[in-house]
């Protein structure tokens, strides 16, 4: 168990080190294979809030993705349709994808939503903050797992 904890890279901690002191503390998380098994916030997310967050422009998801959001006139087509995400991926896989998609694919264009370090020239209003909070990510994960097809 201890060995597992040691060999697993704590991406958030590692990156936070680069971002120096001004970075907000991210909660530590553990990656096991291609999943983050435990909730980032320690609590279960709220799927209804998760859906509302995904379609909000400031979350940026539907700039790139489309999905089962018939009321949304403008959805992107740079990325897979989110319909069926919950059939294709487990909760833990979806959590890692949101936290740090570059852990799975180094050249992905999908931003890492729970990371503050290793970034270049972040604008003053966004510096030192992850794109989404731990709670927001849990809400979105809770919603994505319901997308079965």
């Amino acid at each position: 168990m201890a060995r597992l904890a040691l060999t697993i890279v704590f991406a958030a901690e590692l990156l936070a080190t680069c971002a120096s002191a001004r970075a907000e503390e991210l909660r530590p998380y553990t990656v096991v294979g291609d999943v983050i098994p435990a909730s980032l916030s320690g609590a279960k997310g709220d799927a209804l809030r998760g859906r509302a967050l995904i379609v909000e422009r400031s979350s940026t998801c539907i700039l790139c993705h489309s999905g089962p959001f018939p009321e949304q006139a403008f959805q992107g087509d740079l990325a897979p349709n989110l319909t069926g995400s919950g059939s294709r991926w487990s909760e833990g896989q979806l959590r890692l994808r949101l936290v740090d998609a570059s852990h799975l694919n180094a050249t992905t264009i999908m931003p890492s939503y729970y990371r503050v370090g290793g970034l270049t020239r972040v604008g003053a209003s966004w510096r030192g903050k992850p794109i989404l909070s731990a709670e927001q990510i849990e809400d979105i994960v809770a919603y994505l797992v319901t997308l079965k097809n």
């Binding site: 080190t17 740079l78 290793g118 972040v122």
Partner: protein, 257 residues
């Protein structure tokens, strides 16, 4: 130790796919992504709101200004002849400064050096009008910027900026404008990010705007710190974009959504 880890990480991120330049036969202006209505607005001078700025610029061309009490026309005469093709070669290398200047920068150098007047503010009506008037004299002519060998290191720096991922969203210009220009970001066509129409009338701005304004909007869009107007970085990006668009016709004053 910490530093080594950081460097390794940054290098890993910088080393992502190096996209090739879009071949001339596949270069497409933002115009070709627009709706028929918006195209018609650009095509018809009487419907194109940018033409009002061009007319303003024409009036400013002959207005005396500054301590020298000279107008642009006192040195350059008829812009229809003297300014033909000029904008297609900008940004150009400025020997006295040892770096490139864009068209707006050149106009302001004429203001200070030859008219002994104060430079116009970026995005001021006067500077937009004069640069639109000058660039319109090259309408339809092929872009030929970046050939001067003295510009090579600056083109290269602009290229590096274009490739670099930045901002909270960690995206580079190339990720959108080389890799997915046939796709849509929310409702907007991404386009190849070609600089052919500037200054141009953007419906979203309800105004004419410069290429630097457009670049700052994309940089803010990826949640990066926008470079200041007139900064060397923005001029280098403009220069790279113009050399990347070599051979494409100038459209000033274009219209965009």
């Amino acid at each position: 130790m910490k530093i080594a880890v950081c460097i390794a990480l940054l290098t890993a991120m910088a080393g992502t796919s190096l996209a090739a330049e879009i071949p001339l036969s596949e270069r497409r202006s933002g115009y070709s992504f627009m709706s028929p209505d918006t195209r018609a607005m650009q095509d018809e001078d009487t419907a194109n709101p940018g033409m009002l700025f061009v007319l303003d610029g024409e009036a400013l061309w002959t207005r005396k200004a500054g301590g020298a009490d000279k107008a642009c026309a006192d040195c350059h005469n008829d812009a229809r002849i003297s300014m033909k093709g000029v904008a297609a070669h900008y940004p150009a290398f400025e020997k006295a400064l040892g770096r490139p200047v864009d068209l707006e920068g050149r106009i302001n150098l004429c203001r200070t050096n030859h008219q002994q007047a104060s430079p116009f503010a970026y995005e001021s009506r006067e500077l937009l009008a004069l640069s639109a008037f000058v660039a319109q004299q090259s309408r339809g002519m092929p872009i030929a910027a970046g050939d001067d060998p003295e510009l090579a290191p600056f083109v290269e720096r602009g290229h590096a900026l274009f490739m670099q991922r930045q901002g909270q969203l960690n995206l580079g210009c190339t990720n959108c404008h080389d890799d997915v220009w046939d796709k849509k970001l929310a409702g907007s066509a991404i386009t190849q990010g070609q600089p052919t129409g500037y200054p141009l009338y953007r419906l979203e701005w309800q105004s004419l705007g410069s290429l630097q304004r457009r670049l700052r909007a994309c940089i803010t869009g990826i949640r990066a710190q926008a470079y200041d107007y007139g900064s060397p970085e923005l001029v280098e990006l403009e220069l790279y974009l113009m050399s990347r668009a070599r051979g494409m016709p100038i459209e000033t004053p274009a219209v965009r959504p």
